[in-house]
Structure formats: C-alpha cells, structure tokens
C-alpha cells in the first residue's frame, strides 16, 4: 500500500513539476508533509538543506529520502523512479509525436504565463517552513537569532547571489556556537 502511495505521489509530482526543482518543493511538501504526514516540516527543511549541499537534483534527493524513511531501500528506489517515469514517457511520446515547432511556440507562451504562478508556488513553500520548529528562538524577549540568520541569508542570496552552500555552512557554524 505504501508502495502504491509512493508511486502515485511521485508520478504526480513528475507530471506537474513545471519550473525546476524549487517549484517541485511545494508539491512535495504538500503531499509528504501536509497530506500523508510522512515527514515533519523540520525534517523537510533539514532534507532541503542536505539536498542543497549534495550533488544531484534536489527533487531526486527528496524522493530518495522520503522513500527511504517510509518504506526502506525499496521505497527509495521506487520513489526516485516514479519521479522519472513521466519524463521517460514524455521523451518517447511527446517529444517524438507532438513537439512540432508550432506546439513548441504555444508551449513557450504557456510557460511564460505559468511563471508568476510558479514563483508564488515557491514562495508558499518558503512561507510554510516559517514555523516555530524552524525558528526556535522566535518571539518577544528572545534573541531572535533565527530571524536574523534568515534575513541575512536572504539579503546575501537575493542581492549578492551568494553561494547557497556557503550560506548553509556559515549558518550551521553560527548555530553551533550560538545554540
């Protein structure tokens, strides 16, 4: 049963995952954290951090981890392959049959229209992670160091395009000394 659920969830994510790894975060989070409760938000956040620091696509990393925690080794392989399955079918069917120039142009325009929605999708994933488990010292009368880390990392990432791995390592060091 758990295998079927994993298969269904990750095939769905593979089909609907427009716009790259970050856009898939929201889908994965909804299914894995909110709907099935396979992970807590904190687990999910930790996994995103680990995925950022390890090579390979973030969504494959998450699928492997979710599969492993819910159904062991077999589950990890199943979830990863389920995520790839729609791509395999697409390469064989869509690319060979339907991807004419005309359809491609239509697809381009559709994607451009989709982009603001995808941006909102990613933003929502970030917002959902803002809870007191992830921001441990949030609140009045506390140091609010987690908020400071978040703001500084945001500024460094948004305005200065700082390397995400460097930011994660730095905030890990800060956490090690401060908490």
């Amino acid at each position: 049963m758990i295998y079927l659920q994993l298969l269904w969830v990750f095939v769905k994510i593979g089909v609907l995952g427009f716009g790259g790894g970050y856009a898939m975060l929201s889908l994965i989070q909804h299914e894995v954290v909110d709907h099935y409760g396979w992970m807590t938000t904190t687990d999910f956040t930790d996994m995103v951090a680990i995925s950022q620091m390890t090579p390979g696509p973030i969504s494959i990393n998450l699928a492997t981890y979710v599969g492993y925690t819910t159904a062991g080794f077999g589950g990890s392989l199943l979830a990863s392959f389920a995520l790839c399955l729609p791509s395999v079918i697409m390469v064989y069917l869509i690319l060979r049959l339907f991807m004419s120039k005309r359809n491609n142009a239509l697809m381009d325009n559709t994607l451009k229209g989709l982009k603001p929605a995808i941006a909102g999708l990613i933003f929502a994933a970030g917002l959902s992670m803002m809870n007191t488990q992830n921001f441990v010292d949030f609140g009045r009368g506390q140091y609010n160091l987690s908020v400071i880390i978040c703001v500084l990392a945001f500024v460094a990432s948004y305005f200065f395009k700082a390397n995400p791995i460097l930011l994660i390592v730095l905030s890990g060091v800060v956490g090690f000394f401060a908490y």
């Binding site: 790894g21 970050y22 909110d34 991807m99 603001p116 929605a117 999708l121 970030g126």
Partner: protein, 258 residues
C-alpha cells in the same frame, strides 16, 4: 566476433552512462549548473550532437515538467544511442544522488539527535527558508510581474499557504489559464504581425516567431524585443510574462503600450 559486436553496441550507452554519472556526482546547485557540464561532455568532447541542435533541444526539454537533469539525460541519451542510451544516461544522472542520499540518510538518522547536530541544524533551518524565498522573489522580478499581474503570485501563495489547497490544482488551473492566454496571444500576433510595420523587428526571425513575440508588459517596459536565450527560457530575466488569468485584459494593455 559476436561478443565484439555486442561490445560495440554497448559502447555508446556505457560512455553516456559514465558521462552523466560524472555530471550527476559532481554538479552542485541543481539543473542549470549541470547544463554547461553536459554541453562540455556531449558537444565539445564527444561531439555527439552539434552545438545549435543541442541548445534547441535544451529549449524544448526546459518546457517539460519533471526533473530537468533527468529530462536532459533522457533526451541526449535517446538522440545519441536510442532507447538504451536514454536509459543509460538517465541512470547515470540519478544513481550518484540516490547513493549519496541513501548513505546520508542512514548516517543522519543515527546522529540527528546528537546535541551538536541539532545545534548546527537550528542555525541552518532559517537559512534554508531564506534560500527558498530569495529565488521565488527573483523569479517574480524576472517574470516582470506588474501591479496588475501581481494578483497571480499573491493568489497562488494565498491558496497554497493559507487555504492549504493542493499545489497540484493550482498548477493545473494556472496551466489552463496560461494555455488560453497563449492561444489568444498566438492569434493576436498572427494578425498584428502583418499589420504593424514597427513590429517587424520581432517577426524577422522566422525560426520561432511566436516565442519571439513580447508580452504586453515587456513592450511597455523595454523597447527592444526580448530574445529568449536557449539557456534560460524558464528563468531568464528577459523572458516576458503575460498574465495567464487575464486573457481579455492583455490585448487592451497591448494597444495602450504600442
């Protein structure tokens, strides 16, 4: 003799597997960081695919859903060595990350309750939130969201974060809206492209006329036509974004802009 033939048939898939294995094992930073490594391996070194065809291909692959690295591997593999090549490249691309995560998952579950690890992750978690919010805002900026079209990302955030509606439905709705918009704008530009002479700059390139047509917003904001670069069609700052949910509104604002 037979063995030799078999070996030759396997040679390209094996090479594909190995190329994508190396790429999968050493690229940090997601699909777009991977792209230049794929180009180097497939176009420059092995000369399997000519440069222009490669970028055309990437432009198509980028518009598909799913894992970008997997799509690229499948398509390159299929182009170079058929079905076997496609699967060899795909497994090459994903096996490193599956292995690494499986190793880390066992280690992480062992040590995550250690106070030291817990302290480190307390620092990391807020940073991760920032690392997700930042690219989404950058995307909004690059999508040239105006005050009128800002309703789309805001509504998306509200529906998913506040109402807890499944992102799947939101994506499907957005696809439907964008498709209608793309159809409308496709028809409009077919008429408009012939009528207006000042728009000739955009229609000169006959290769992919429709993708060259700028959206109403970008026409107002930037006088030159946005040239979609193959590398960054989804995330590029040039690519213009029409509003998917307001197909009626856009032709009007287009007239205003011109």
């Amino acid at each position: 003799m037979r063995q030799k033939v078999y070996f030759c048939a396997m040679k390209k898939p094996l090479q594909l597997f190995w190329s994508f294995f190396k790429i999968g094992a050493f690229t940090l930073g997601g699909g777009y960081a991977m792209l230049s490594m794929v180009e180097k391996a497939v176009v420059d070194q092995k000369k399997w695919i000519p440069n222009d065809e490669f970028w055309d291909m990437i432009a198509v692959v980028q518009s598909l859903p799913g894992v970008f690295a997997v799509n690229t591997a499948l398509y390159v593999g299929h182009r170079v060595a058929g079905t076997r090549g496609a699967f060899a490249a795909m497994f090459g691309a994903i096996i490193p990350s599956i292995t690494i995560i499986l190793l880390l998952a066992t280690v992480f579950r062992e040590y995550r309750d250690q106070p030291v690890v817990e302290r480190i992750f307390k620092g990391i978690r807020p940073c991760v939130v920032a690392l997700i919010l930042a690219p989404s805002l950058r995307m909004i900026k690059s999508a040239k969201v105006t005050w009128k079209t800002a309703i789309i990302p805001i509504a998306t955030v509200f529906l998913i974060w506040w109402c807890k509606i499944s992102p799947a439905y939101v994506i499907l709705t957005a696809i439907a809206g964008s498709l209608i918009y793309a159809l409308v704008i496709g028809r409009k530009t077919k008429d408009g492209g012939q009528k207006t002479e000042d728009g000739g700059q955009k229609t000169k390139d006959g290769r992919r006329p429709k993708s060259q047509v700028p959206s109403p917003q970008s026409q107002v904001l930037s006088p030159q036509s946005p040239v979609p670069s193959p590398q960054s069609q989804v995330l590029s700052p040039q690519s213009s974004v029409p509003s998917p949910q307001s197909p009626v509104l856009s032709p009007q604002s287009r007239k205003k802009g011109v």
